[in-house]
Symmetry: C2
Subunit: 98 residues, 2 copies
Amino acid sequence: MASTTSIIQSGFSCGGALSSFTAKPRRMVVVRAQAINPDIKKDEAKVVDSVLVTDLSKPLSAYCRCWRSGTFPLCDGSHVKHNKETGDNVGPLLLKKQ
Amino acid sequence: MASTTSIIQSGFSCGGALSSFTAKPRRMVVVRAQAINPDIKKDEAKVVDSVLVTDLSKPLSAYCRCWRSGTFPLCDGSHVKHNKETGDNVGPLLLKKQ
């Protein structure tokens, strides 16, 4: 997974030469712009799904927005585990026929 | 943003006591389970949106799945910037009336 990482550090060099190691190690803060889709259709440049609403058979259909569903683009509830593990608050898009 | 981080390291302790520093620093790998929604409705435990498909007025409506749209739950194209910055491949869900 490609990502952009900025490492802000003070008084401490991590993984560098011994000569850059200073006396007072301080907290390292990692600011990361990270991909949100770990696995789905990674061979595609952009994952876009289409729903023809006249084809919806059920009164209610839930569509995934956490990118962790095993039934993507449909929701399988995987956002619950994701939210619990990360403190996130994502949920599905519900399509209602009436 | 809450996150769970596992740090796998070998032969090198970062930010720890000096006594744990060993002779051969090696590559540190950070595996991060991170929230994917940085800003949207963070006062809500779970963001679920509903669309009554009979209310759709346009032939095509794009709904955000990158959690970065300024017009959430609708797509505003923010996934383009996100994908470019992170190497991700996310895109919207398209609802088509016909």
